[in-house]
Assembly symmetry: C2
């Protein structure tokens, strides 16, 4: 229950797409492609973004090797050693070492059911200004089905966030891998859709829509910023082979049907893990996510997430301790959280995993006494 | 005649490999893969390297998105702002902006028929030491069929280079994309094969062996350095889909036969362009390369490569001016060179391209007078 992997049974059949690409488009797919990404895919991403209210164009989209390369390139563009970035506490743990590798310092802010705490950011900015210190270079957030908390930012909070960015001239990095994995409720405009002044870098990916192994993502921003990111992408462009496979799949209209299957499957998984958790572990509390991959579990205050994860591993269930999701090293963080993922395991494995987690929980709650009272052999 | 693209007709048929990977190995190929690269491919690269006398192992190989990502990661590992690197003058032009983006300063050294000028490097190092200044972080070279000069470093020069690196504790980045594209003569041990102290980062790629669009390359070094490079590779690993396609192709024994076809084809192209150049442009001189993709043409001293390239473009032939291949901005470089590539064009296009190049040459040599003597309308 630890990973953001796809459910194996739902990985799509891409053989027809691959065959077509490797025959009809062989000489394009196997040569160097354009550094910015193949135009057909950038056009398709543009029209896909339009269904979300994002008005972009092919010259304002850069295709990347998954979302992580997009994050890395944005860091290369915006960060110098010692610059700071704003992020929620907790946040996506893979982003932390990427930002850190560019010498970033972290400013953590809170998050509630409405999303990232914009008022807190505003008062931090005001204080930095009073002290004559530099503002952060960007605000990083996962506004939909946040990793790890599962929370989704409300429209009014989004509006406040974009307004704040424009007022202070600070960029936003909107990391949006789970946007279409929504189980109920209606979708909310992406930050990029309500961003007339182009302060938002919108990062998308086909990892959660089609398959992680395809390693195709994108970033959309202003034409000027994209041109600078293209310069920084020194790898001769992402593979035109994988890009064309993605494009064939999408252009054939298969993505929508596939997304529906993914959503239906993961909704079942989410329901299954929520029932199992309520049944086996009534001691823990959670906000049930309406989409995405993860649930953030609050343990009773005496229980340490690291210990529970360790004990879980012994009982054969893998979960991530909450401590992995905090960026700032010099701040005391709550210890009583873990993250569970429900996408990769089968429903039966979910039940069994939660049973084992409960068993680990009870072992950590009241440690067994055997080691103190071992019978003399 | 400008690009390092593959000859379209020689791109292999990968449909069988793709189909097998997307069916039999679907759940591995479409999930996240190991960050270091799939073990099967790293094992295969290990045995392939062994045929070159390189004794490595799967834990000392990192799979990358082509050779350029390998160069980028090595820079992230070794370079800080203001560090210097040694390279030949001229050198591979795509490496220049990669190194520069890490704040590198360039120390250019000469090159002759034996390869990079190791004596010159030794005296530069000695002088830096006398002055108490820091040594360069690495020496970058393309020892086989150098881009752009086509020269290949002799074994004794290689030995001197590796000895120098070990003596001074300076790394070598051995960029080796063309190694197997040898038309005649026997191959020479890679630097990595004569490097007992592990100062060499060996960079390889399937771009020239199979297809550029597949974007799979690798770097081999010590286990410790590879572990650090894996940490720096923040993109969740290269696509397991493309890696598995490569592995299927190689493991089925198709690579050797394919390489033979590639070599035979490019030998024909090389012969064709050499004949055409001798016929059409006896004024220029060159060293005929015994492998690789490129010929470096020395123009008579009055002829400017930039002007010739510009005039060529007008006549419908594209070549790269020599000026693109010099790293140091503050040094005067010879202007009378251009690089021609013979892989991408058909043999007939090669003939036609050289004819047009000759026509451009004669126009630059003795510019037409029409613009000074236009008839009054």
């Amino acid at each position: 229950l630890d990973s953001g992997h796809a459910y194996p049974a739902i990985l799509p059949d891409l053989t027809a797409e691959a065959e077509r690409v490797l025959t009809t488009y062989r000489s394009q797919a196997l040569q160097y492609g354009p550094k910015q990404g193949i135009p057909e895919l950038r056009e398709w991403i543009t029209s896909y973004s339009r269904t979300d209210g994002v008005s972009t164009s092919a010259d304002r989209v850069l295709v990347t090797n998954g979302a992580k390369q997009a994050l890395e390139l944005v860091c290369r563009l915006l960060l110098d050693e010692g610059d700071s970035v704003v992020m929620t506490s907790p946040t996506y743990f893979t982003a932390i070492p990427i930002f850190r590798s560019f010498g970033a310092r972290f400013i953590e802010v809170g998050q509630d059911e409405q999303g990232i705490d914009v008022d807190q950011i505003a008062s931090i900015f005001a204080e930095l200004q009073r002290e004559g210190r530099p503002l952060p270079k960007f605000i990083y957030d996962v506004p939909e089905f946040h990793n790890p908390t599962g929370l989704t930012t409300s429209l009014s909070r989004r509006q406040s966030l974009v307004d704040l960015a424009a007022k202070w001239g600070v960029y936003i990095v909107e990391d949006s891998p789970y946007r279409r994995i929504r189980f109920e409720g209606s979708s909310i405009a992406p930050l990029k859709a309500i961003d007339p002044e182009d302060y938002v870098f919108h990062v998308g990916t086909f990892s959660k829509l089609i398959a992680p192994g395809i390693r195709v993502g994108w970033v959309s921003s202003s034409a000027e910023m994209i041109a600078r990111l293209v310069q920084l992408k020194a790898d001769s462009g992402s593979s035109p082979l994988t890009q064309r496979i993605v494009h064939e799949f999408c252009a054939a209209g298969k993505l929508n049907a596939h997304t529906e299957r993914v959503v239906a499957t993961y909704r079942t998984h989410r329901d299954r893990i929520v029932s199992a958790l309520r049944r086996e572990l009534p001691e823990i509390s959670m906000t049930v996510p309406s989409g995405g991959y993860y649930i953030w579990l609050r343990l009773p205050s005496g229980i340490d997430g690291d210990e529970l994860a360790k004990q879980g591993a012994q009982e054969g269930v893998s979960v991530l301790p909450g401590s992995k999701f905090y960026a700032a090293a010099d701040i005391e963080h709550p210890k009583n959280f873990i993250r569970v993922a429900y996408t990769h395991a089968t429903p039966d494995e979910i039940d069994e995993g939660v049973r084992r987690l409960a068993s680990a929980f009870h072992a950590v709650e009241s440690p067994p006494r055997e080691q103190h009272a071992q019978p003399v052999p």
